[in-house]
Symmetry: C2
Subunit: 404 residues, 2 copies
């Protein structure tokens, strides 16, 4: 494992000084090799699927899904390259010219579970941002991940990039995770966990290097008394039901008590097929199951919605501060003063006015690709795309200045 760390560090030094176009070429070559080696990848995946006892759909690849993976990698080749971009530049009174310039972070460790696409997505996004990556797939998807990695490695080799740029831990031995969390003797700059809550919690707790994790998305949509009822029904239905398994899906609906008799029946009608669990106020208006305390803190990832009446923006903000996970919250309102107060006072990665919480996605933000959504507040917050996987340095240009 330490040897992998050293190889990654050496490769990171090479990646940093490559041109953006050279990195794009390598990413395109990786996509070509994924297509060329589809047979081997699908065969490896079939073996994983055959051995799987759960989450088979997350694991399963077929021609269409594999083409989707290759196309997603290819799309990353066309994204703007963040490395070397000037974020800011200013002059000091003494004539010093100071620029803040994006740099790669260095070596990223990615620890993930059963989705095979993460292998390719993470490699492409890291290459785009000039970082080397060490991948550690869950054991249930290891054959698929290794087959995908062979294709990625062939793409690197074709374009003359060191194999250390994209490496994978070739064993299901859990000790490898522990070694990565220790940082491989200083070789890993950042660990990104991607998977269930148990994995992310373990990584956040045990890692000796910085992590960028996404814990839970207990997302809220708050319907203000000034809401347009038609818009509110469309947004709430989309926020909950478009896809119930994504982290940006709304899990709790908050409705203004004053307008609930008018709004809630229309919202419930739009939510047909969804189990509602309400507080006493909500149940007095629309028949539904009773919510328990635990419901307010649950990420269902299922067609279930907790429903609570609140008193105005202050009530909504207080509920979210208590039960939210800092991911994504929306307000539906025609009143701009109420909406701006909500946007200002809710401290979540993404706050939304009059749109669906399911827009919480790097692609929808225009980042082109994402490696996850960060719910911490340090370094990156919200969708993590290539730009969020960079650091920066200050470049100071002088004409002989000395400090008095």
């Amino acid at each position: 494992m330490n040897q992998m760390g050293r190889q990654a560090r050496l490769a990171a030094d090479v990646l940093r000084s490559l041109s953006a176009e050279a990195r794009s070429e390598a990413i395109r070559a990786m996509a070509r090799h994924i297509r060329a080696e589809a047979g081997a990848i699908l065969a490896a995946n079939a073996a994983d699927v055959g051995a799987a006892t759960a989450m088979v759909d997350r694991l399963l690849l077929n021609d269409a899904r594999l083409e989707g993976i290759a196309a997603a990698v290819e799309a990353v080749a066309d994204l703007p390259d963040p490395v070397g971009a000037e974020i800011a530049r200013w002059q000091r009174p003494n004539g010093l010219d100071i620029a803040r310039v994006r740099t790669p972070i260095g070596v990223i460790g990615m620890i993930y579970e059963s989705r095979p696409n993460v292998t390719a997505d993470a490699a492409a996004i890291c290459l785009r941002s000039g970082n080397a990556i060490i991948l550690r797939s869950g054991s249930e998807a290891l054959r698929s991940a290794l087959a995908l990695h062979r294709a990625l490695a062939a793409g690197l080799a074709e374009t003359g990039i060191p194999a250390g740029a994209v490496q994978i831990v070739a064993t299901a031995d859990r000790a490898a995770v522990g070694m990565m969390l220790e940082g491989l003797s200083g070789a890993i700059d950042l660990i990104i966990p991607r998977g269930g809550k148990a994995l992310v919690e373990r990584v956040s707790r045990d890692a000796r290097v910085p992590t960028l994790g996404h814990l839970e998305g207990v997302c809220h949509t708050y319907v203000h008394e000034s809401a347009d009822p038609v818009m509110a029904a469309e947004i709430v239905a989309n926020a909950k039901l478009r896809r119930v398994s994504v982290c940006g899906a709304t899990e709790t609906l908050l409705v203004d008590r004053a307008a609930a008799p008018v709004l809630l029946p229309r919202l419930a009608e739009a939510l047909q097929g969804c189990e509602l669990r309400g507080d006493a106020g909500a149940r007095a208006i629309v028949p539904m199951a009773a919510a328990a305390e635990a419901d307010w803190a649950t990420e269902y990832l299922a067609p279930i919605l907790a429903v609570r009446l609140v008193d105005g923006v202050a009530g909504a903000v207080a509920h979210i501060a208590r039960y939210g996970t800092g991911h994504t919250e929306a307000i539906v309102a025609e009143d701009p003063v109420a909406a701006e107060a909500f946007l200002d006072r809710v401290d979540s990665a993404i706050v939304i006015w009059n749109a669906s919480t399911q827009f919480a996605d790097g692609g929808e933000f225009g980042f082109g690709a994402e490696i996850g959504i960060a719910t911490g507040k340090l370094h990156a917050r919200g969708p993590v795309g290539p730009e969020q996987l960079t650091s920066f340095k200050y470049v100071v240009r002088g004409t002989g200045q000395t400090r008095p």
Copy 2:
């Protein structure tokens, strides 16, 4: 301690929604109370100094130094407030308007050693950036820190800000540090250590929450063969000798082998009073002590300079990659191609062309104040001022958009 954490979290919620002017008023009130309580602060400091066995100068306060502390706090009140600033804003094809807006981080834990000014500086910078702070002073400066904190608390009370905004651990018990490093049950978002290498290493190793530390500044100045000899001598002398105890002081001088016979004697002349320790090449040109391997990795913080001949930019970059600490490195050169290659290829927080490494300072960068210089690459890098103590959130404004 956990009670302190809860108070800090509640205060952070208040600070976040205060106006910039309210935070400025509180900072000014803190400065007034430092001046008003000068007698008590100096008496407490005299007791600390009386008990001290080492580092007395770092610890000592007098009228002038205390006025300096008050003036530095006051200056922070006039800095631009980072909270709420829009970092970026763009529109998506579906009409969504997305803004990236600065927010406070929340609660910062500051663990420091014997400099009393850190107590006031850190409190002012955290208030400016909307963060609550929990201070933990070294035991040798605890009386001074507690007296300063009483003045800060009086300033907060006068302006109606909760006392939880600026708290100090009132005991020298080392267990308190351990509890802070555990995060006080989730109450601390970020730990900033400020002190010697042992402290920073311990904090980085043991903290369960993110840290922003400054480990060491083994800074380099590289004199390229194209350098103007007069400028090179002025810059090198300033970079080493202006103040030898600051982290931006140059510790190793690299000189191009090709031009060393001409350049090195002039540089040595400008460095009179400084002990030189050179490699064989340097010693063949100017008589000096022999450098040992350890010299290349030593932060002297003293009038000692390691000197090595290198072959061109590639040689300088390779030496810095091996021995540098990622803090600050400078090149002196008239050749812009060589200079830009150096600026591009050296991966340090600050890279400088034709100016002194001693400009590595938040004040010199125009940040107004700094709480330290971060040598890590995550979240902040280089001088950490109020802006670097913020996170951000995405504010999305729609007109009823749902996601297809």
